[in-house]
């Protein structure tokens, strides 16, 4: 890999040894995205890992944009379904 830049390389590569991230990989609106979490349920897009081609043309999915990543597609199961044991008229 060769970097060809007019900027001094020591400025460009400063902090190169630091671990990037932490990253979260999640599926949002049919896209698999890599995010850096900034708040609970909100992440900054790092890159789209797998997405419909048209998503790349939308500015709201460009790297650096904020996106909500709570699982929206899966319906939350009703509380009653969590109990497998039948209740007997209590």
């Amino acid at each position: 890999m060769t970097i060809y830049t007019a900027m001094p390389l020591e400025l460009v590569l400063d902090g190169m040894g630091n671990e990037p991230g932490p990253f979260v990989e999640t599926t949002v609106k049919g896209m698999t995205v890599q995010l850096v979490p900034v708040a609970p349920g909100v992440g900054r897009i790092v890159r789209l890992l797998s997405a419909p081609l048209d998503c790349y043309l939308k500015t709201e999915y460009a790297p650096g944009q904020l996106i909500g990543y709570m699982p929206q597609d899966e319906p939350i199961p009703p509380a009653s379904s969590l109990y497998d044991v039948p209740r007997f008229g209590m």
Binding site: T5, L9, R47, S50, L57, A62
Partner: protein
């Protein structure tokens, strides 16, 4: 394509968002993230901005503003195959970056079938030069600069001839592309690249606005108005050509 996509919805061309859905997504963005994007009017021109460092094989530290090539490449493919997009405006303000990523973007732009116009604003340095010349037509703002200098490795002591040969080959790739896609001659470009006494830290040249045009690197000095006018002219020309072709096939 994700498994969660609904049947009948293709990954290439989802139907246009309805007004209701658009409003809903805007409200959702405000509620969830406290931000929203300005609703864009339907445009037949796709604007690709290339800023900061062009990031390729290595994730650069966060103080760098970067253009990620893994995002730009699918963007260019999407723009090429989307029937609503008729032309591309490439706006550059870059300080350079990864050689391979830069050349990949430049090759992609030069092989598009849709008209493309590049506009250098601020700067189009180092690997930004092949990207600037890759479009069908190129413009540079009067105050914009382009730094042409050799590829080097900072802090590296060249101890073996192979390292020198490798850097020379990398440089040859860039030189060949620029010469092939602009009016600059090999001799002039190499003269600019190896000129001494102009850059304090390096050998090379900084060409400003009119100088870039004089050397044949860029087609004309101009701003966004000129670039868009040229792009629209090329779009119209292409439409006439494709219309004539279709007419000939019908006959």
């Amino acid at each position: 394509m994700s498994d969660k996509e609904k049947p009948g919805q293709t990954s290439e061309q989802p139907g246009p968002q309805s007004e209701e859905a658009r409003k809903q997504s805007a409200t959702e963005a405000v509620v969830q993230l406290g931000q929203t994007t300005v609703p864009s009017a339907e445009s037949h021109v796709f604007c690709l901005t290339i800023i900061g460092q062009i990031e390729g094989h290595l994730i650069l530290p966060p103080q760098n503003k970067t253009t990620k090539y893994e995002h730009v490449i699918p963007q260019l493919i999407a723009a090429e195959q989307n029937p609503k997009i008729e032309g591309l405006l490439i706006v550059l303000n870059t300080v350079g970056g990864d050689v391979e990523a830069g050349l990949a973007i430049a090759e992609m732009i030069s092989s598009l079938t849709k008209p493309s116009v590049a506009l250098v604003l601020g700067g189009g340095h180092s690997i930004g030069v092949p990207i600037a010349v890759s479009a069908d037509a190129s413009y540079i703002a009067e105050t914009a600069t382009m730094t042409i200098h050799p590829i080097r490795m900072s802090g590296l002591v060249i101890g073996v001839p192979q390292t020198f040969d490798y850097l020379e080959k990398m440089q040859e790739r860039v030189t060949r592309f620029v010469i092939g896609h602009s009016k600059v001659s090999e001799q002039t470009f190499k003269e600019l690249m190896f000129k001494t006494g102009e850059l304090t830290r390096d050998i090379g040249t900084t060409v400003i606005g009119q100088d870039a045009v004089k050397h044949g690197l860029i087609d004309a000095v101009g701003g966004v108005g000129d670039a868009l006018r040229e792009l629209n002219r090329r779009i119209k020309e292409r439409k006439v050509k494709t219309g004539a072709k279709e007419g000939a096939i019908m006959q």
